[in-house]
């Protein structure tokens, strides 16, 4: 991969900053602050932030949001499955937190090229923390006619402190699911 950039190159950090902006947007909307951008040929072509609370659908992670935007866009301009698969194989994802087992599988299903993430997800991370779904499967495990598990390159730890700081502020002040405070909150004087 001649075009692959170093993990802490300026462009990588720039994209991660954009992902962090998405995470901040989630925080502003009382969502768990995770955000991402999808990049093709050095350009951001989609972005997403976590929307699990407003949708009451716990699968609406930032990655899923960003993916859905692309699929809609590409289908609208008439791309078929193989063309869309080809597109994804040239896309990289920048996400503030390690993709969970669901999202890591989804990214593998789509055949994304590379994933950069901020902090690790030691509860349900699918890119090394709990399972390693970014590693490709062996062909002989699969039965005839079935395509093997696709892997993708994965680099973690990019601006992880910023990502963690957002989680912290969410749990400190913004979590709408948190138990009610023992003392009534003081309203502005």
């Amino acid at each position: 991969m001649a075009l692959s950039v170093g993990a802490d190159s300026p462009s990588t950090l720039k994209f991660m900053e954009l992902a962090l902006d998405q995470a901040k947007f989630a925080l502003d909307n009382l969502e768990i602050p995770v955000g991402c951008v999808i990049v093709e040929d050095g350009k951001v072509i989609s972005s997403g932030s976590n929307r699990t609370t407003v949708t009451r659908n716990a699968t609406r992670h930032a990655e899923m949001e960003a993916i859905d935007i692309l699929l809609e866009k590409w289908q609208k301009i008439g791309l078929d499955q193989s063309q869309i698969a080809e597109k994804f194989s040239r896309c990289d994802l920048y996400v503030t937190c390690e993709p969970c087992i669901m999202c890591a599988t989804a990214l593998s299903i789509l055949g994304i090229r590379e994933v950069f993430y901020g902090c690790a997800n030691d509860k349900f991370g699918g890119c090394g923390s709990i399972l390693s779904l970014h590693k490709s499967g062996s062909k002989n495990l699969c039965r005839e006619g079935v395509l093997p598990h696709k892997g993708f390159k994965c680099t973690g730890g990019l601006m992880s402190e910023e990502a963690i700081a957002l989680f912290r502020s969410f749990y400190e002040q913004g979590n709408p699911n948190a138990p009610k405070p023992h003392r009534p909150v003081q309203v502005l004087q």
């Binding site: 009382l30 407003v54 993916i67 499955q81 193989s82 087992i101 079935v146």
Partner: protein, 434 residues
Amino acid sequence: MQWEILHIPAKPTSSFEQSTVDVLASNIEPKLANSLVRQLNQVCPLENLRHVKRVRRRSVEGKIELSVILCLSSENENHMEDIPNDVLQLINAHQLSPFNAKVARYAAASKEEWEEQCKLWPTSYHPSTNADGVTGFNEEESQYVFKCMKVAFDLAKTHYHGDKVVNAAVIVDPSCRHIIASACDQTCPRSTLTNETGSKLVSCIEREANTTSTQSDADGLASSKERLFPNFSPDKCSDLYFGVSCLNPWGWAEQRPHHQHSEHQCGNNYPWHPLRHAALIAIEKAAERDRQLFPSIGSSKNLSILDHDLKFASDSSLAKRQKTQVLKNEHSLVNKDGTNSLSSETTRPYLCTGFDIYLVWEPCAMCAMALVHQRIQRIFYALPNPNAGALGSVYRLQGEKSLNHHYSVFRILIPEKALYQVESNGSDDCPLQN
């Protein structure tokens, strides 16, 4: 042969080799036991072997013999090399002579298993409290479970379109026995062609499942689909199963030559999405239903807390404020636990808490994790997924301790003969026709 419900446990049933762990142990002087165990627990805790007792006490030729586990053995030939330094120091200080021993890898699930384990090395055993529905379905419950599975099969059947089958998912609230949501795979353009009939059928099945339907209704239902349905055989791998998203998650991009033509003729205008597996769509529908059934009514308490947040929001542009306003209303329901007097709210479940899902095929890791996220209580599937199944076949998410939610998993065994008969015309030995 009968239909059967088989519990798929969180830990694999494994061979002796897989079910044990090699450890390094040593006989010790009884007077050393207390301090040594304390030190070992500090420098080398047995994190994943909490069921294993650190000390073994047995009588050998009338004498009491005490042995202690020092650490895990390495796979290295020369095992002394990988002993942690702290442990090595203890070995030297007390002139211990380590030996290899085997201990049980997992806590025992039954008294019999525990007795077997203790022959290797003593473990502790805590009989499970038999969590609700994990074991022992009574006859009536079993019949209901089978019935729900048949609903899933029927749904898959209606989407069978002459060239490929799809997976189907049905989310059920077992407390009131309502179907909450149901869906089929939509990863291929053609699988949604029959959507219209599918949804009609679901409402029809819903009636059947909730009320007592007459036999003729059920017959009519079955015969109308007779021609559409293939002979599901779990062990056959053919083109037929190419459209089952969880069986072949990476197959969406491969267009089969003989399908390509028709897809292009159709103009490819049908909604499809490589990630729209049946379980994910069912979750989406359940969430949508929840938003419709329980639109935003917040308690004043919650509102005031959220108002507070709103005032502190750094950016209070009008657009953002409006957005937050909407969100605020959405949120207030999530907050309700125990704080609300509105009966409609107190009955509202959090996500899919307490709900079951029925799937024809064992879900892939994406779907299985989605079901963790959405807090499904129990998963029932009929056919295993050797390619990508995440509930025992390839992965075993129900056994991943770090996850924040754990469901119980059951496979419904359907005798092949019965399977075929049930599908084709609802024969007499089908337990669902009662």
